[in-house]
């Protein structure tokens, strides 16, 4: 039996009166692309920090590839690459120097071939000799990704990697991370951009006030909490009790449905009521609705 990439059991962490983690259990399989979502202060970063050994949990255990992050921290840390949320860098060194040092911290010598490969993949080759201070924010972010990869970790955690990053870089970054995932790396991602999580992650956990309030495959979450919707705006106001919906302030009517066959029925009802449609919009289920639904319910 293969060990899970990540296993979190009963983890709690308290900061004064604040319960950052209130008993988290979570298992992430090898090769998954996993999303960790939640509002600010939900405990996402605390959980990731505990995994990386940057925070010591009050109780519970965390394992990376079967290695306990406290008892067997050396192997646990070798198996984990973390891209921190803050845009941190050491102003004393160039990009290549920073990557060589990072390799050395993991006990790896002569890592230049792999470093060159990472630089190439992240489009950083031209900046290899540049001092970290001279790089733009987006470039610094890419170097952080590179630093997390120098030791070829099987599990990669990205904490809000696209916050404040322009669209082009974001696309490039996701392409790269997807490739890493295809190559077998387990990816754990926290993000505020729900559409990113929706398109990238196979499974998602939602955190609220230090607890996991939803944990399922992205498809199931979408199916469970949302429906398709048909929004129409009528040319003239119409109040027919048979329609069973009332327009919003801008005159839009919204009808929810599970299957596309149901659209015809809705339109037939509108026709029967003598409505003339001025605008129409078909909505897909989206993670934002799931997110709002889960956060309100929890």
């Amino acid at each position: 039996m293969t060990v899970p990439a990540i296993r979190v059991t009963g983890v709690t962490k308290q900061y004064g009166a604040l319960k950052a983690l209130a008993g988290v259990d979570l298992e992430i399989g090898q090769g998954e692309f996993f999303g960790l979502l939640g509002p600010n202060g939900a405990g996402k970063t605390t959980l990731i920090s505990a995994l990386a050994g940057l925070v010591r949990p009050d109780s519970g255990t965390l394992e990376v590839m079967g290695h306990d992050v406290v008892g067997d921290y050396r192997n646990a840390r070798r198996a984990l690459g973390v891209v921190p949320q803050e845009l941190v860098f050491d102003p004393f060194f160039t990009v290549r120097e920073a990557l060589r040092l990072q390799s050395g911290y993991f006990g790896i010598r002569d890592n230049d071939d792999w470093i060159d490969e990472i630089l190439e993949s992240l489009d950083l080759t031209a900046k290899a000799g540049a001092n970290m201070r001279m790089l733009s924010g987006g470039m610094k972010r890419r170097v952080l990704v590179a630093q997390a990869l120098v030791h070829r970790p099987p599990v990669i955690v990205l904490d809000e990697p696209t916050a404040g990053v322009d669209v082009e870089l974001r696309q490039g970054l996701w392409q790269f991370v997807r490739k890493l995932n295809r190559d077998g790396h387990t990816i754990v991602l926290t993000t505020h951009y729900l559409e990113e999580a929706e398109t990238l992650c196979g499974r998602i956990a939602m955190l609220k006030a230090g607890r996991i309030v939803a944990l399922d495959s992205t498809a199931n979450l979408l199916a469970r909490f949302t429906t398709h919707s048909l929004r129409v705006r009528l040319a003239a106001p119409l109040r027919d009790p048979a329609l069973s919906v009332t327009p919003d302030e801008e005159g839009w009517l919204e009808f929810g449905f599970e299957r596309f066959e149901e659209v015809e029925g809705v339109l037939a009802r509108l026709r029967a009521a003598g409505a003339e449609i001025a605008e129409m919009h078909l909505g897909e289920p989206d993670l934002e609705k799931v997110f709002i639904g889960v956060m309100h319910a929890a």
Binding site: A52, L54, V55, Y73, N75, R77, V88, A98, G104
Partner: protein, 251 residues
Amino acid sequence: MSGFKTLLYKEVWRFWKVSFQTVGAPVLTSLLYLLIFSHVLDRHVTVYGEIGYTSFLIPGLVMMSVLQNAFANSSSSLIQSKITGNIVFVLLPPISYREFYAAYVLASVFRGVFVGAGVAIAGLFFAELPLKAPLWILAFAILGGGLLGSLGVVAGIWAEKFDQLAGFQNFLIMPLTMLSGVFYSIHSLPEFWQGVSHFNPFFYMIDGFRYGFFGQSDVSPWRSLTVVVACFAAVAALTLNMLSRGYKLRG
């Protein structure tokens, strides 16, 4: 290369990259002390009977440079890394807290000894310097640098802002160094202050170090060695305890 070696290498490389500020500046400061004090006092003061004041002063300044720079290296590196957040780069890898400690302290010793050597070489232009017992010189330079490097780790981890670190430096390290006999033999002090000086561990570091040059000192070098080793052991134990608990580093 192990994580420890790389961290040590990085800590040395870091100060070397800005050696104008980390080596050049303290050497210049010590030279200014030497220039002023030797010019004013050399003809008026002799110590231990026949030793000229400038000769007496040089080992004191050398050791002061060793101590202050050892402290500055670990403390400034740590607080900068903490404030800028790049401390995560050394917290994420599989480096044990003992390796972490050893790397920071050894790099501090290295910088201290390097600056001290610079001051000593520059001092040779001002006065002759005997070398009666070089092993004592080496022992006190390394132990003193290690003790202050270790204190620097404590201060760098404890301080959350640059002014707190400056407070540590200005209100603890600086007075203890200045009142340790860098500029005078404590025998020239009134009895009461001589007594007080014996409670200052910096006094023993300077006095023992100076013994290596002149073969003479205010107290026996063995006694100084005992005090310095005991202080080093105590501070090392405190620092290792802080690091093992992850105090202020691993929330």
